[in-house]
């Protein structure tokens, strides 16, 4: 490495060896150790680095904002539709727990096989059949004996 190459590297990357290109770091360090004139170039680069280091920024925490902005799954959209966010948070778990019951009621109402009226109709037909039979025929005995 010669002085021009060393100056070009320091001009680009500054005085911090960690910022130098890995493949040229050792050669540059060796050159700077053995070249007194290079000390001035290194000093200039270090002064600029020190001034640049004063440009600091405050910390930020955007995690909640970013998580809130994520697209929702179908189930989350359904839950949010059923239990809108402005609702009190404490009763949301209760609403969620009641959701299977509500789904069960809906299924029962929509499916005729589970209709409670079937049982009622069955009882009514059995009763009508019993009443239409002659006394004692239904069970082989007369009820009034």
């Amino acid at each position: 490495m010669n002085r021009d190459e060393a100056k070009a590297l320091l001009d680009a990357y500054g005085a911090d060896a960690e910022k130098w290109p890995a493949e040229r770091r050792q050669a540059l360090a060796l050159f700077l150790d053995g070249d007194d004139a290079a000390a001035d170039i290194l000093k200039e680069a270090r002064q600029l680095d020190q001034v640049l280091a004063t440009y600091e920024l405050p910390g930020v925490d955007l995690a909640d904002q970013i998580l809130d902005a994520l697209p929702q799954s179908g189930l989350e959209r359904l839950l949010n539709w059923l239990m809108p966010v402005p609702a009190s948070l404490w009763w949301r778990p209760a609403m969620a727990a009641a959701l299977p019951l509500a789904i069960g009621v809906c299924i029962g109402a929509l499916n005729p096989e589970f209709s409670a009226y079937d049982d009622v109709n069955d009882w009514a037909s059995v009763e009508a059949q019993l009443l239409s039979l002659p006394a004692g025929e239904s069970a082989g005995v007369s009820w009034y004996e």
Binding site: A12, K19, Q47, L48, V51, L57, L62, A63, I66
Partner: protein, 182 residues
């Protein structure tokens, strides 16, 4: 965060794991925000771009190839492209080597310490750099990216990147000569 842990977290993110996503957001948000903030000098736009960067990460995590780039580099690449898009949308800025006027963030010198005043002057000098020089300087000096990573993101050769860096530092040396001497 260890690279192996990070890869495992990225796989979980690709499967829709929000807890893993939060861990990666918390690990990378500050560095990304610092890059975008120094690029744009506008906190609201920086917040929006960092948020959009992570939303893109969420939807594209399955495409991340750890053998091609570190996660940090990949996220910087997304954020950088969004910054360039933002420059292009903004009529008074363009992503060229032409300088722009530094924005005044409303800092009041009377209430600032000497360090803060110096930091403010550096902020203005960095903001006044042409965008490509600023990108190169921020990535290599402030963000800790390697020259190859930065060159890949800016889409230039390593030689061209070194030219951008040297021009940026030369310009800053002129702009901040009083601060450097004192």
């Amino acid at each position: 965060m260890q690279a192996v842990d990070e890869q495992a977290l990225v796989r979980r993110v690709a499967a829709g794991d929000r807890a893993a996503f939060r861990l990666l957001v918390e690990a990378h948000q500050r560095a990304l925000w610092a890059y975008v903030m120094r690029m744009l000098a506008d906190a609201d736009r920086a917040n929006d771009i960092v948020q959009e960067t992570f939303l893109r990460f969420w939807t594209r995590a399955s495409r991340y190839d750890p053998s091609a780039a570190r996660l940090s580099t990949w996220l910087h690449h997304i954020a950088h492209n969004l910054c360039v898009d933002s420059f292009r949308r903004n009529a008074r800025m363009s992503y060229t080597d032409e300088p722009i006027e530094a924005e005044d963030a409303g800092a009041n010198p009377e209430t600032q310490s000497l360090d803060e005043q110096l930091g403010e002057r550096v902020r203005r000098a960095v903001a006044a750099l042409p965008e490509r020089q600023r990108s190169a300087l921020l990535m290599c000096h402030y963000q800790g990216l390697s020259n190859k990573e930065a060159a890949s993101i800016i889409d230039v050769s390593v030689d061209a990147l070194e030219s951008l860096l040297a021009r940026a530092r030369r310009r800053l040396k002129q702009e901040l000569s009083r601060e450097i001497e004192s």
